[in-house]
Symmetry: C2
């Protein structure tokens, strides 16, 4: 009987310990203590407190994450790497492509050529390399890219490149009833190949740029054909538009990064929410753990200051960036 009592006491003791540990456990271990980490934790605890005035119903807890430079590196941009590898294949199939001025500029690494009308020229390249094929063909080609490609400088497979602090943040948000989305300038079907595996984000929660599609049914089989016309450019003011079309509501949490000013509009869209909301803007200021680069006109950081957007210093706020280091 005594023996039994001791057993029970040990169990209760272990239970209390685990409770204690659980309550104290850090949901964001790769984040250093500081105002951003404290801000995130306070925000999430406020909006999930059903008795508080800041409570957000579960169905309205949408969190949007940019991808390039926010969830994985962008030096170089990974979809650009895919584009180049596709371009090589296309030129093998059709050497005449080398006469196309945009293709020629890529081969000759002619940066001057892209100084003007850069967006249009990149879209041309996207169209040459990723359209006039079925969705199934595209899926195969993107899949094989992700299986093989090695990221320069870091010398790692692409699938190893997710930022660890952001994975912790995604998990923390989801554990608190948030629905996590990607909202990126990358093309939607390219990202969908990898977002579940790398970030735990399913295909239907990926918002991106897209081409015009056409449904073709020959009575026997049928497929979606990717045409070479652009359907949506999901960048800058295009991001709130993409979010509205896909979800019908303003997000309450947004994470983006400094480089092109692409994420400010969706942060402002979030700030117009009727609920409390939180935005973080990642600054690439860590040449040791990742890369150091800034924005030409400093627009994003200026907007962050003006609109109380939280700036994350990769150097100071993150103690660890990649799993492989």
């Amino acid at each position: 009987m005594l023996n039994k009592r001791i057993h029970v006491s040990i169990l209760i003791f272990l239970f209390l310990c685990s409770e204690f540990l659980f309550c104290q456990s850090d949901p964001l271990p790769s984040w250093n203590d500081g105002p951003v980490k404290t801000g995130i934790i306070n925000f999430i605890s406020r909006v999930t407190d059903a008795n508080g005035s800041d409570f957000i119903p579960v169905e309205d807890r949408n969190a949007m994450f940019d991808n390039d430079g926010t969830l994985w590196p962008e030096q170089p941009v990974i979809q650009g790497m895919f584009m180049i590898s596709q371009l090589k294949k296309k030129i093998e199939q059709d050497p005449g492509l080398k006469e196309n001025p945009t293709v020629k500029a890529v081969i000759e690494k002619d940066k001057e050529y892209f100084a003007e009308d850069a967006e249009k020229k990149v879209l041309d390249l996207l169209a040459i390399t990723m359209t006039n094929m079925t969705e199934e063909q595209f899926d195969r080609e993107a899949k094989s890219f992700f299986e093989e490609a090695i990221y320069p400088k870091l010398n790692q497979p692409i699938t190893q490149l997710a930022y660890k602090p952001q994975i912790e943040l995604l998990n923390y948000l989801r554990a608190n009833g948030f629905k996590t989305y990607i909202c990126s300038g990358g093309t939607v079907e390219f990202m969908r190949q990898i977002t579940e595996q790398m970030y735990g984000i399913p295909p239907e929660q990926v918002i991106g740029s897209s081409f015009k599609y056409k449904f073709v049914d020959d009575g026997d089989s049928n497929y979606i054909l990717r045409e070479s016309q652009i359907n949506a450019v999901n960048d800058k003011e295009g991001k709130p538009v993409g979010i509205q079309l896909a979800t019908g509501k303003r997000p309450v949490f947004v994470s983006g990064n400094v480089r092109s000013g692409g994420d400010i509009a969706m942060m402002r869209f979030s700030q117009g929410s009727k609920y409390p909301n939180f935005q973080i803007l990642i600054n690439h200021d860590d040449p040791v753990k990742e890369f150091e680069y800034s924005e030409k006109d400093n627009y994003s950081l200026e907007m962050a200051k003006k609109y109380n957007i939280n700036v994350v210093s990769m150097k100071n706020d993150w103690n660890n960036i990649f799993n492989f280091k």
Copy 2:
């Protein structure tokens, strides 16, 4: 000790009873026994059996439902009712609108006028009545419509019009891990006002037609402006396109109806899935419980025959359509 044994026996007995009742309970009580009901139940049981060869992983169990004539009546089309009520308000604000030939034709009930270029003219009306406003304004107007409008012939509030057998089917699919979507020609934000309440389908699982949006930020407040240009017509071949853009995969279950041929393309898209798949086409052949009408050229029923699509006779397959009858 004996007493304890009896207690345990009673508990086991009750447990077995409840198991038995649970197993025997009919998930589709408003559906009459017959090949369609049996087909649905067999399909769902096959694809959810983790040991069977027809198993579909949970993340690929997407079910698409058309809305008008599939989940609620379309005699008249409900978004058409909203359009007319909006048009009345717009004319009050701007009597000059009556000179617009399309508006004039509506006022004069000039069916001849709509015999040619009907689609373009309806889109014009949609643009006049539902654009050049912010999303917030539109939400308010649509909400007040749904609160007030009474459906003619049935003399019921719109919110009472969900087809009961389809609600049972939606619940049955969801209970088996399916994600249920609406994929309709109606405009996406109009449907989103009501799909959660009526069908348990959240806004982000509604795929529909849409207008071009523009994000406007004056630095103080910001909003999405609905412009009068069409972004996507989510009908016929537009449905597989909308599904691919929104979800990135082929659905394995599709429900549509006979009237305009609008649902065949998404059914064919589903039939191209690598998984087992199931399609049901609702035929409005019940003048007593609902309405009786058919398709001018009989296209949908012919396609159903050609491609083994299951036809639901409202008269024979459903024993009950509305909650209020």
